[in-house]
């Protein structure tokens, strides 16, 4: 159970009638508000709370901003602590990057989807890999059976990676790659493909997720234990800072923490605690915070609760800026800016009445934009049923384009800054997340906290609580536990051709037969040596994939050298 103090709860969320009158007593600035919430007026429920079960007051007023300094805490966009956004002009200067996550079947299938999305006006690429690739198995491995190309694109070899980006100039697009325990090999392949295209590493822009700490906490795709996993990540941070300074070597991710069932506060807390873990590991390597921290990027979830999500993004920016300045002594402003990608919440979508998901995604995306994100993925309506169809992806992309170009919310910077409710929620999320981080520090840091299952159990607890609230209809999911329909017309979904697995497996086998075996073996030997002696892994990895070593073979070296992590299976 959570040991968090509920210090703000009494002030912000007393009994409904009392909250309104208490707030009003100290609030000269809200004269009209009393009529709607007069003391004793009947309210629909005894308690109002967010989707995270954070209790919400009937009314927020100037009184709720007391103890907070307008200049220090809220400030201006583009200025520390960036509560109102990391850039002074935000979307008036440049709109966010519209980046739809895509990947299925073979490299050729996904390459076609990439070309389709770019033709529709998408401004960046985002790659989804299949489970074998994510878990470090080649398509021809027995554990890959039934999984090849199902949940993303199958990449085992440099040949696959080359085909994935065929006809796309890597010097002109930025690419996001969602991959973690096998990220080092995928990045090595990406650099090798760029070299074949004649694009220097220094010109490459993009992001590789590469956040293993959140894997142990939430998404649970791993190969090795936490410590060697973090070592590989620091190798990548170090290498990119030197050789590919426009590339983000890690995207510190709250998305999966939220999908696993966390609250908004837990999402902020555990994500920033992971960030602290990476910064500490990079400092221990001897890197300078002002050099590497500007390339750390973030990835947050956008759930249904509109105000809570906007406040969450603002709180995360403020807290990270303070951590970087006060705890790590960063003086480069860019080292204190939390720049983030965001994705609408997959777990909020329903298989029932799937067209309703378009509306959910719109609300969530709007929260992301009002919360000041730098890039955005909007989910497709059919994703609780299958990977998205082309038609569904287009509606999702159009949703972003309508927000950007029709809604008018981009005309002014941080239009909700100064709202009593938004500022009060921002402060509360910051305070509660900070308390979690203090608890994790007291345990000896995030790796130790993961070892004892602290974040994992907190999230499982929140997930179970939410399920019970749904089962009791205390929380509503339209079409699921309210406004159900007896029968629904089916919608068209994407089917993955079952032959994909056979074709990809044959292709990988043929690749392995045709390559220069001695060179491939030699490449793996050099990688193994770097695993042992602590040399930066990236140069031997790039050489090895160019010499024909496959993703699964390199991961086998990792398994042998670093050991295999097993699920503690806490309930």
């Amino acid at each position: 159970m959570s040991a968090r103090p509920k210090k703000d709860a009494a002030r912000l969320a007393a009994a409904p009638g009392a909250a309104a009158s208490a707030a009003h007593a100290g609030a000269a600035a809200a004269p009209g508000a009393t009529r709607a919430t007069a003391p004793g007026a009947e309210e629909r429920r005894a308690r109002f709370s967010t989707v995270s079960d954070m209790e919400i007051a009937a009314l927020y007023t100037l009184e709720d901003l007391r103890g907070r300094d307008g200049a220090e805490d809220i400030g201006c966009p583009g200025q520390f602590p960036y509560t109102r956004g990391v850039y002074p002009t935000m979307y008036r200067g440049r709109p966010w990057t519209m980046r739809q996550f895509a990947g299925f079947g073979t490299a050729r299938d996904t390459n076609a989807r990439f070309h389709f999305l770019l033709a529709q006006g998408q401004t960046g690429l985002s790659t989804a890999f299949d489970m074998p690739t994510l878990m470090g198995y080649d398509a021809d491995h027995p554990r890959a059976l039934g999984e090849v190309g199902r949940e993303g694109v199958a990449i085992s070899t440099l040949e696959d990676m080359t085909e994935l980006f065929h006809g796309i100039d890597l010097g002109r697009v930025t690419t996001s790659m969602t991959v973690n325990c096998s990220a080092s090999i995928i990045l090595a392949m990406y650099f090798a493909v760029a070299e074949r295209q004649g694009v220097p590493m220094g010109a490459l822009g993009g992001t590789i997720q590469n956040d293993m700490l959140k894997e142990f906490i939430a998404q649970k795709e791993w190969i090795c234990p936490p410590e060697p996993s973090v070592r590989v990540i620091v190798d990548m941070i170090e290498f990119c800072a030197r050789e590919a300074p426009r590339f983000h070597p890690v995207s510190i991710s709250g998305y999966h923490i939220r999908e696993a069932g966390s609250t908004a506060v837990q999402e902020v807390a555990f994500t920033l605690a992971d960030g602290i873990g990476y910064v500490e590991a990079a400092l221990a390597r001897g890197l300078a915070v002002d050099d590497f921290a500007p390339r750390l990027s973030f990835f947050f979830n956008l759930h249904n609760d509109f105000l809570e999500e906007i406040a969450k993004l603002r709180a995360a920016r403020r807290l990270w800026a303070r951590i970087m300045r006060d705890r790590f002594g960063a003086t480069n402003p860019r080292a204190t800016m939390l720049r983030t990608h965001a994705q609408t919440a997959g777990c909020s979508l329903t298989a029932q009445q799937p067209t309703n998901n378009v509306v959910r995604v719109t609300i969530q995306a709007l929260a992301g934009v009002l919360g000041g994100v730098q890039s955005l993925h909007t989910n497709s309506m059919d994703e609780t049923l299958a990977l998205p169809s082309e038609q569904a992806v287009m509606v999702a992309l159009r949703t972003q384009q309508i927000i950007a170009e029709e809604s008018g919310v981009t005309n002014t910077v941080d239009p909700l800054g100064g709202s009593y409710a938004i500022e009060a929620l921002t402060s509360r999320i910051e305070d509660e997340a900070e308390e979690y981080i203090r608890q994790i520090d007291a345990m000896g840091g995030i790796v130790r906290a993961i070892d004892v299952g602290f974040p994992q159990k907190e999230i499982a607890e929140a997930a179970y609580r939410f399920q019970q609230q749904l089962d009791r209809a205390e929380k509503v999911m339209v079409g699921v536990n309210k406004y159900q329909r007896e029968s629904e017309p089916p919608i068209e979904t994407l089917r993955i051709d079952p032959d994909v697995e056979k074709r990809q497996t044959a292709r990988v086998r043929a690749f392995k037969q045709a390559r220069n075996q001695a060179k491939a073996r030699e490449g793996l030997t050099t990688v193994r040596a770097a695993c042992r002696d602590g040399a930066n892994l990236m140069p031997p990895l790039i050489a090895a994939v160019k010499d024909g070593a496959t993703l699964g073979e390199v991961c086998d070296v990792y398994r042998e050298e670093f050991g295999v992590y097993r699920d503690p299976a806490w309930l």
Partner: protein, 135 residues
């Protein structure tokens, strides 16, 4: 008649790590009074069938979100039959399209629960469809 509690193995076959559903179901079944064993993630069909027979369970709940259900669910059932556990009731859940549900039921999966199912509905199904196996 039931002389002991119904014993259920909750298992995660395949490579995906999405254990939110599996853990919620495991906990709900335990709270409903069943004896629950949770395998943890990334289990092969062999590991699941072996654990089920070893632990002498009455039912297995399989959770999968990677799309590999058509391969892995029937394989679990085949291995159970091979090891003398053919009477263990197998049910499952995840992102599973309707046409696959029909096919999996034909292959011997007793029930498939898709997103939006309440934990109460799953508990009720176990009460109605699973009884302790004869020794």
């Amino acid at each position: 008649m039931a002389s002991r509690k119904i014993r259920i193995l909750v298992a995660k076959p395949g490579l995906d790590g999405h254990d939110r559903g599996a853990k919620i179901i495991a906990r709900a079944l335990r709270d409903a009074g069943f004896e629950v064993i949770y395998t943890g993630l990334h289990q092969t069909p062999e590991m699941i069938a072996e654990a089920a027979v070893q632990e002498d369970v009455d039912a297995i709940g399989l959770s999968i979100l990677s799309g590999a259900h058509n391969t892995l669910f029937p394989e679990v059932i085949r291995l159970l039959r091979e090891r003398g556990g053919g009477d263990i009731a197998v049910f499952g859940g995840g992102i599973i399209p309707q046409e696959d549900i029909d096919r999996l039921k034909h292959e011997g999966v007793r029930a498939i629960f898709t997103p939006g199912t309440t934990t109460d509905a799953i508990v009720a199904w176990v009460h109605a469809n699973v009884c302790p196996r004869a020794d």
